[in-house]
């Protein structure tokens, strides 16, 4: 499954970011293989407003099915829920997050 991660860094040993839309790195992972599909510096990180919607739009438009990160804001939450994106809240490294995500019920 194509999973979005709000990441603090660009590899699997980086932490899941502590803020969702303003995360340092936007990361995409294939959850079964752990393959990193994208890892880019978040261009919206320092935006003045509407950052949650921008990142939610990125997730929806790029075909992600789930998103791993901290709690999402109200605008991002409503967009992601409408888009049928599964939200998986996690604190720790991305590697551990992925393991927990794959074991979820």
């Amino acid at each position: 499954m194509k999973v979005f991660v709000a990441a603090a860094g660009k590899d699997l040993d980086s932490m899941v970011a502590d803020r969702f839309a303003r995360c340092p790195v936007i990361m995409g992972i294939e959850s079964e293989t752990g393959e990193i599909l994208e890892a880019i510096d978040n261009p919206y990180k320092d935006g003045t407003g509407g950052v949650g919607v921008k990142v939610a739009n990125h997730i929806i438009q790029n075909g992600y099915k789930a998103a791993i990160g901290p709690q999402t804001g109200p605008n991002a939450t409503s967009a992601l829920e409408e888009g049928g994106i599964e939200l998986f809240t996690f604190q720790g490294t991305i590697r551990d997050a992925l393991e927990a995500f794959n074991k979820r019920k």
């Binding site: 509407g50 950052v51 919607v53 438009q61 605008n75 409503s78 409408e82 049928g84």
Partner: protein, 278 residues
């Protein structure tokens, strides 16, 4: 000429000065731009002749025509739109919308986006058009569009007084940018001077001629005079603190009715400003 009355800090006396100018000068108009808390009417007691609701255009999406191409969401710099092809839905975040119209402009499908009015406040006009005030509806995030909208109601009187909102952000800039002269009202307290300094920076950035009125002046406190000297700004008038004025003000009596001798001070002031900007 348009004379704006601003302050930085709230409660220094913008309205006492604005209404005094309006009530002292011939052929003047008073415009209350402090749309989040207009209070000039308390002192002017205008006869309101017209009351109009003010609205802004916001997009409305027809999901039966929309092809969910995402062009609108990509074009929206305020991120007010989320297009969800999976759910055949468009989410619109109205509080993020700035009514710029770009979504409708870029939409390739006629009728998928139409603009509908969203009411944000009320504009009242009275005293044969010489009194104008705006009131922003509760919950509306930005006062700027309403302040901009009020400008269409400004009459062409010889002297137009613009009563500015407090602070140093967008609503203040929107009020000051079309003025010919800015009066900065301060009080001789550290808070008053601190915010006066911020307001002065804005006025200088906007390159507006300006001067200071010190309200609640106290001969024993030289804060405002020292500040004016250090920044090379003229003190136009000092209004000494007076319990009589404060008590009258609390009952909605204008300064120039409590102390009528101030009328000539404000008349002179306007003539001095006229010379400065000519």
């Amino acid at each position: 000429m348009k004379v704006a009355v601003a302050s930085g800090k709230g409660g220094t006396g913008k309205t006492i000065v604005s209404t005094s100018l309006f009530l002292s000068v011939n052929d003047a108009a008073y415009i209350d731009m402090d749309v989040e808390e207009p209070n000039g009417a308390i002192f002017i007691s205008p006869e309101i002749e017209r009351e109009e609701r003010f609205s802004l255009p916001v997009p409305s999406f027809n999901e039966n025509i929309c092809t969910f191409c995402n062009a609108c969401a990509e074009a929206c710099v305020y991120s007010a739109i989320s297009v969800i092809p999976q759910a055949k839905k468009v989410l619109f975040f109205e509080e993020l919308c700035h009514s710029c119209g770009v979504c409708k402009y870029v939409c390739p499908e006629p009728g998928a986006i139409v603009e509908v009015p969203k009411e944000i406040g009320t504009i009242r006009v009275g005293n044969n058009g010489n009194f104008v005030e705006g009131t922003l509806d509760i919950g509306i995030p930005s006062a700027v569009p309403l302040i901009s909208g009020i400008k269409r109601y400004i009459p062409d009187n010889d002297v137009v007084i613009l009563d500015s909102p407090p602070g140093t952000s967008c609503p203040v800039v929107e009020t000051l940018k079309d003025s010919d002269y800015v009066i900065l009202v301060t009080e001789p307290t550290p808070f008053g001077i601190n915010d006066l300094s911020l307001a002065l920076d804005i006025v200088r950035e906007l390159e507006k001629p300006h001067g200071i009125i010190v309200n609640k002046h106290n001969e024993k406190v030289s804060l405002a005079r020292e500040f004016a000297r250090s920044k090379d700004v003229e003190i136009l008038l000092e209004i000494p603190f007076s319990r009589k004025v404060a008590e009258g003000y609390s009952k909605g009596i204008p300064l120039v009715d409590i102390e009528p001798e101030y009328r000539s001070n404000f008349k002179d002031l306007i003539e001095r400003i006229r010379v400065t900007i000519s």
